[in-house]
């Protein structure tokens, strides 16, 4: 009888332990980048036009201590102490951060957006709780980083980093303090050497601006943000790229400039974008008064529209009157033949749900728990910018142009959506089954199309040789929403055009900001 148990035990254990060990860990596309080695230093970037700053000297940066002082020598010795005994973790953070400060902070921001892009779960009575910035860790956590929220977050962080870098480069050129590896030959440069003066540190400026703006945008994630900040600063010391006074001055400047953006953000009307039940009722009754069928939520229980007052948020690239003028004319009337035909077209696409259409729909869906369409365009842009070897200030300038366009696209798009309050295709015809989730806001115009049109227009200015690629991507993103069964053709065609109009403002700004391309 003993044998039975013995044999059983051996055989059953074999089933558990035989498996081979093989590594399955997945590498991200930017996990193993080469260190950033700018093709040009952009040393004159202090003359570029900032977004909010009145000029590069709005926030003063004191002259650095001389490199022959005992204090500076002590700071160089701090680097040498790190470098004398490096462990693998320390080497890994140097490698990670050397890919570029603007890039890494943009990725971290995208990560926080994806983490927080979750619609709140309903209350027992069928209503929905709203996240509170004053209590960000209570459920539902603040923020719900939906596409408009995300677009605004990307814009503020990028624009603050750009302005802070314009100021930083001004002071770099003014004080011309060399990097520690250029001051002391016994400091090893663990990253590519550069002639760019190191005071104030461009990395600390980028990180400081990020910390200050992200504290406002993701108040519940301050520990994570602060830990990344400290790691970033440590990486710069270990790499021999900055002494502590470079970093301290950069952090202070980055935070000071970012404060100006935080002040703007507190007053940009985004805080009221959720609207009130009275606002929601008025959107519906205004639509009915125009003789149209109003949008209603297809979720169960019905969820209030996503940030219906976001169209009132203050734009970056043009004034509020221009924003209203960018709103397109009305969609086809719900009762029109054209609308019937467009609804039929959507139905046909969803009935013929080819595998290729799923690929396109899911590639662009950027829905719940993702970094949203603006984040997707940041990813597309970043992967191209990596190949261009931009300086940090040019990285920031290009990301700021892109993300200001995406934020303004969100504003004009949300204004249009809630002005016309047009129903989704599957509201008009419940036989339409969608290839991805139906967004909880009105249909006209398509957000994906507006974002994509804007992004393509900016990126084709920044990287002209990729113009055809960006326009093809934008067209595919736009069409994906028809294939998915969640937008009519009019939503997409008009959205793409409105987006391009907005993107052109950013491109025009780029043409006159002094940076050139």
């Amino acid at each position: 009888m003993k044998n039975i148990f013995l044999i059983s035990a051996v055989v059953i254990s074999a089933g558990i332990f035989i498996p081979l060990s093989c590594s399955k860990s997945v590498d991200g596309r930017t996990d193993n980048l080469a260190p950033l080695q700018p093709a040009k230093t952009d040393i004159n970037a202090g003359t570029w036009t900032p977004v909010l700053l009145t000029g590069p000297t709005e926030f003063a940066v004191a002259a650095p201590i001389a490199t022959n002082t005992p204090e500076y020598i002590a700071q160089v010795n701090e680097i040498k102490t790190w470098q004398a005994d490096l462990n693998n973790d320390e080497k890994a953070i140097v490698k990670y951060w050397s890919a570029g400060a603007v890039l890494r902070w943009n990725e971290l921001l995208r990560e926080l957006v994806a983490k927080h892009n979750l619609p709140p779960y309903q209350n027992a009575d069928g209503t929905y709780p709203a996240p509170s910035a004053n209590n960000p860790l209570a459920y539902p956590q603040f923020p719900f980083a939906n596409p408009p929220y995300a677009a605004r977050a990307y814009a503020y962080v990028a624009a603050a980093q750009y302005d802070a870098l314009v100021a930083a480069y001004y002071y770099k050129n003014l004080y011309k303090r060399a990097a520690p590896y250029n001051v002391d030959a016994t400091v090893t440069a663990l990253i590519p050497k550069s002639d760019l003066p190191s005071y104030p540190s461009e990395d600390a400026v980028v990180a400081g601006a990020a910390v200050e703006t992200m504290k406002l945008l993701f108040p519940g994630d301050q520990d994570f943000i602060q830990q990344k900040f400290e790691e970033h600063m440590r990486a710069r010391l270990i790499a021999g790229a900055n002494v502590r006074s470079d970093l301290d001055a950069g952090e202070a400047l980055g935070k000071a400039v970012a404060q100006k953006f935080v002040t703007r953000a507190r007053g940009d009307r985004a805080g009221a974008a959720a609207g009130t039940p009275a606002d929601w009722a008025k959107l519906e009754s205004d639509c009915i008064a125009r003789g149209e069928t109003p949008w209603y939520s297809l979720e169960s229980p019905k969820r209030p529209p996503m940030l219906p007052m976001f169209g009132k948020v203050k734009t970056f690239l043009f004034d509020s009157l221009t924003a209203v003028s960018l709103r397109p004319g009305p969609p086809p009337s719900v009762s029109s033949e054209k609308m019937k035909a467009e609804t039929e077209e959507v139905l046909n696409y969803t009935k013929n749900d080819s595998r290729e259409n799923y690929r396109i729909v899911h590639f662009w869906a950027d829905g719940v728990a993702t970094y949203t369409p603006p984040g997707h365009w940041d990813a597309i842009a970043a992967e191209d910018f990596i190949t261009k070897n931009y300086s940090e200030v040019r990285w920031a300038r290009n990301m700021a142009l892109l993300n200001m366009a995406l934020m303004d696209a969100a504003i004009v798009c949300w204004d249009t959506k809630n002005y016309y309050y047009n129903p989704r295709p599957c509201q008009l015809n419940p036989a339409i089954k969608t290839l991805t989730g139906v967004p909880n806001f009105p249909s006209y115009i398509s957000g994906h199309s507006t974002f994509s049109g804007a992004a393509a227009a900016v990126l084709e200015y920044i990287v002209p040789e990729n113009a055809a690629k960006y326009n093809a991507l934008a067209a595919e993103a736009s069409n994906s929403r028809i294939y998915a069964g969640i937008h009519y053709r009019s939503d997409c065609v008009v959205g793409l055009q409105v987006g391009k109009n907005i993107g052109t403002y950013a491109a025009n700004r780029g043409k006159t900001d002094g940076a050139g391309n």
Partner: protein, 300 residues
């Protein structure tokens, strides 16, 4: 989100085909759930209603020898949500192939002890969408399963226990990034392996088998569905089911048998609380000229 990956019928029971016998037949499975576990939080979802899947499979089992069998199973799966707007999915799912070996069969005490070793592989035979849970028809990974099994039959009663380790390959999806508990900038998902434990106890004669089954599937890793999020292929999907099966040999037609069964998820994590029923008809083709005479209730 539902673990209804039907594989060849007898990859987890103690039945063996005799040499040169080939048992083959169709099987229909219906599985549905209304409530599911979002992590450990049990909920329903009015945007899904009842999620159901229908599975039409063909399965076969061939006796290379009395002690060595090969098996296959190929299901066509169709899913649907009764509420909300999401499009149902359908298509051929994963082909599974097994080798089943019974190295030991001997009298121990008053009964007969048999020991089995099984190896299986399953892989998608169509390019179905794995990243549209809970409506995806499968998870998209290629799996290699190692299973040890022991059966003891005493008169007309038996008990079978098995343990399996399931190696699962990574899965490629259509998007270029996704969030687990961190942001991954890749279209490749790291799939955690899984373990499966199965215990079946019942009555087994040449005429029929009636058994009660407890099964546990445990994902070795993975992450929980975050609150009000959609499920993801590399979630930590665990399920314990209890069920019953019946197999009846129709003596009037030599080699014909009917099977039926059902099970219910009694505990789970990141899966639907599914009720599953199935029915099948199997026929034994005898490639020798001998009449199919069962030597033991375990052998067809």
């Amino acid at each position: 989100m539902s673990l209804t990956q039907v594989s060849a019928q007898t990859d987890i029971d103690a039945l063996m085909m005799s040499k040169n016998n080939f048992c083959v037949g169709p099987m229909y499975t219906y599985s549905s759930w209304k409530e599911y576990w979002e992590g450990t939080f049990k909920r329903d979802n009015a945007n899904l209603g009842t999620v159901s899947s229908q599975m039409f499979s063909v399965m076969g089992n061939y006796g290379i020898s009395d002690k060595l069998n090969v098996l296959f199973g190929l299901p066509y799966v169709k899913t649907k949500a009764s509420q909300g707007t999401l499009h149902g999915q359908e298509g051929f799912q994963d082909l599974s192939l097994w080798v089943k070996w019974m190295p030991i069969e001997k009298k121990v005490g008053k009964g007969v002890l048999a020991v089995y070793g099984l190896g299986g592989v399953s892989f998608p035979v169509s390019n179905y969408v794995a990243d549209m849970l809970p409506l995806s028809i499968g998870l998209g990974s290629t799996n290699v399963t190692f299973r040890g099994m022991v059966d003891y039959q005493l008169k007309d009663f038996f008990a079978t226990g098995s343990a399996s380790y399931v190696l699962r390959s990574n899965v490629d999806i259509d998007r270029t990034s996704y969030y687990t508990d961190e942001l991954i900038l890749s279209n490749e998902i790291e799939m955690p392996d899984a373990a499966q434990f199965n215990l079946r106890i019942g009555y087994r004669t040449n005429r029929m088998i009636a058994e009660a089954v407890v099964n546990n599937w445990t994902t070795l890793g993975g992450f929980d569905i975050t609150k009000n999020n959609m499920p993801f292929p590399s979630n930590k999907m665990n399920a314990t089911t209890v069920g019953v099966n019946l197999k009846y040999n129709i003596y009037a037609v030599d080699g014909l048998s009917l099977t039926g069964g059902g099970n219910y998820v009694v505990a789970g994590r990141n899966v639907g609380q599914a009720t599953t029923v199935n029915a099948g008809i199997f026929y034994i083709l005898n490639f020798t000229n001998k009449k199919t005479i069962s030597k033991s209730p375990k052998t067809n």
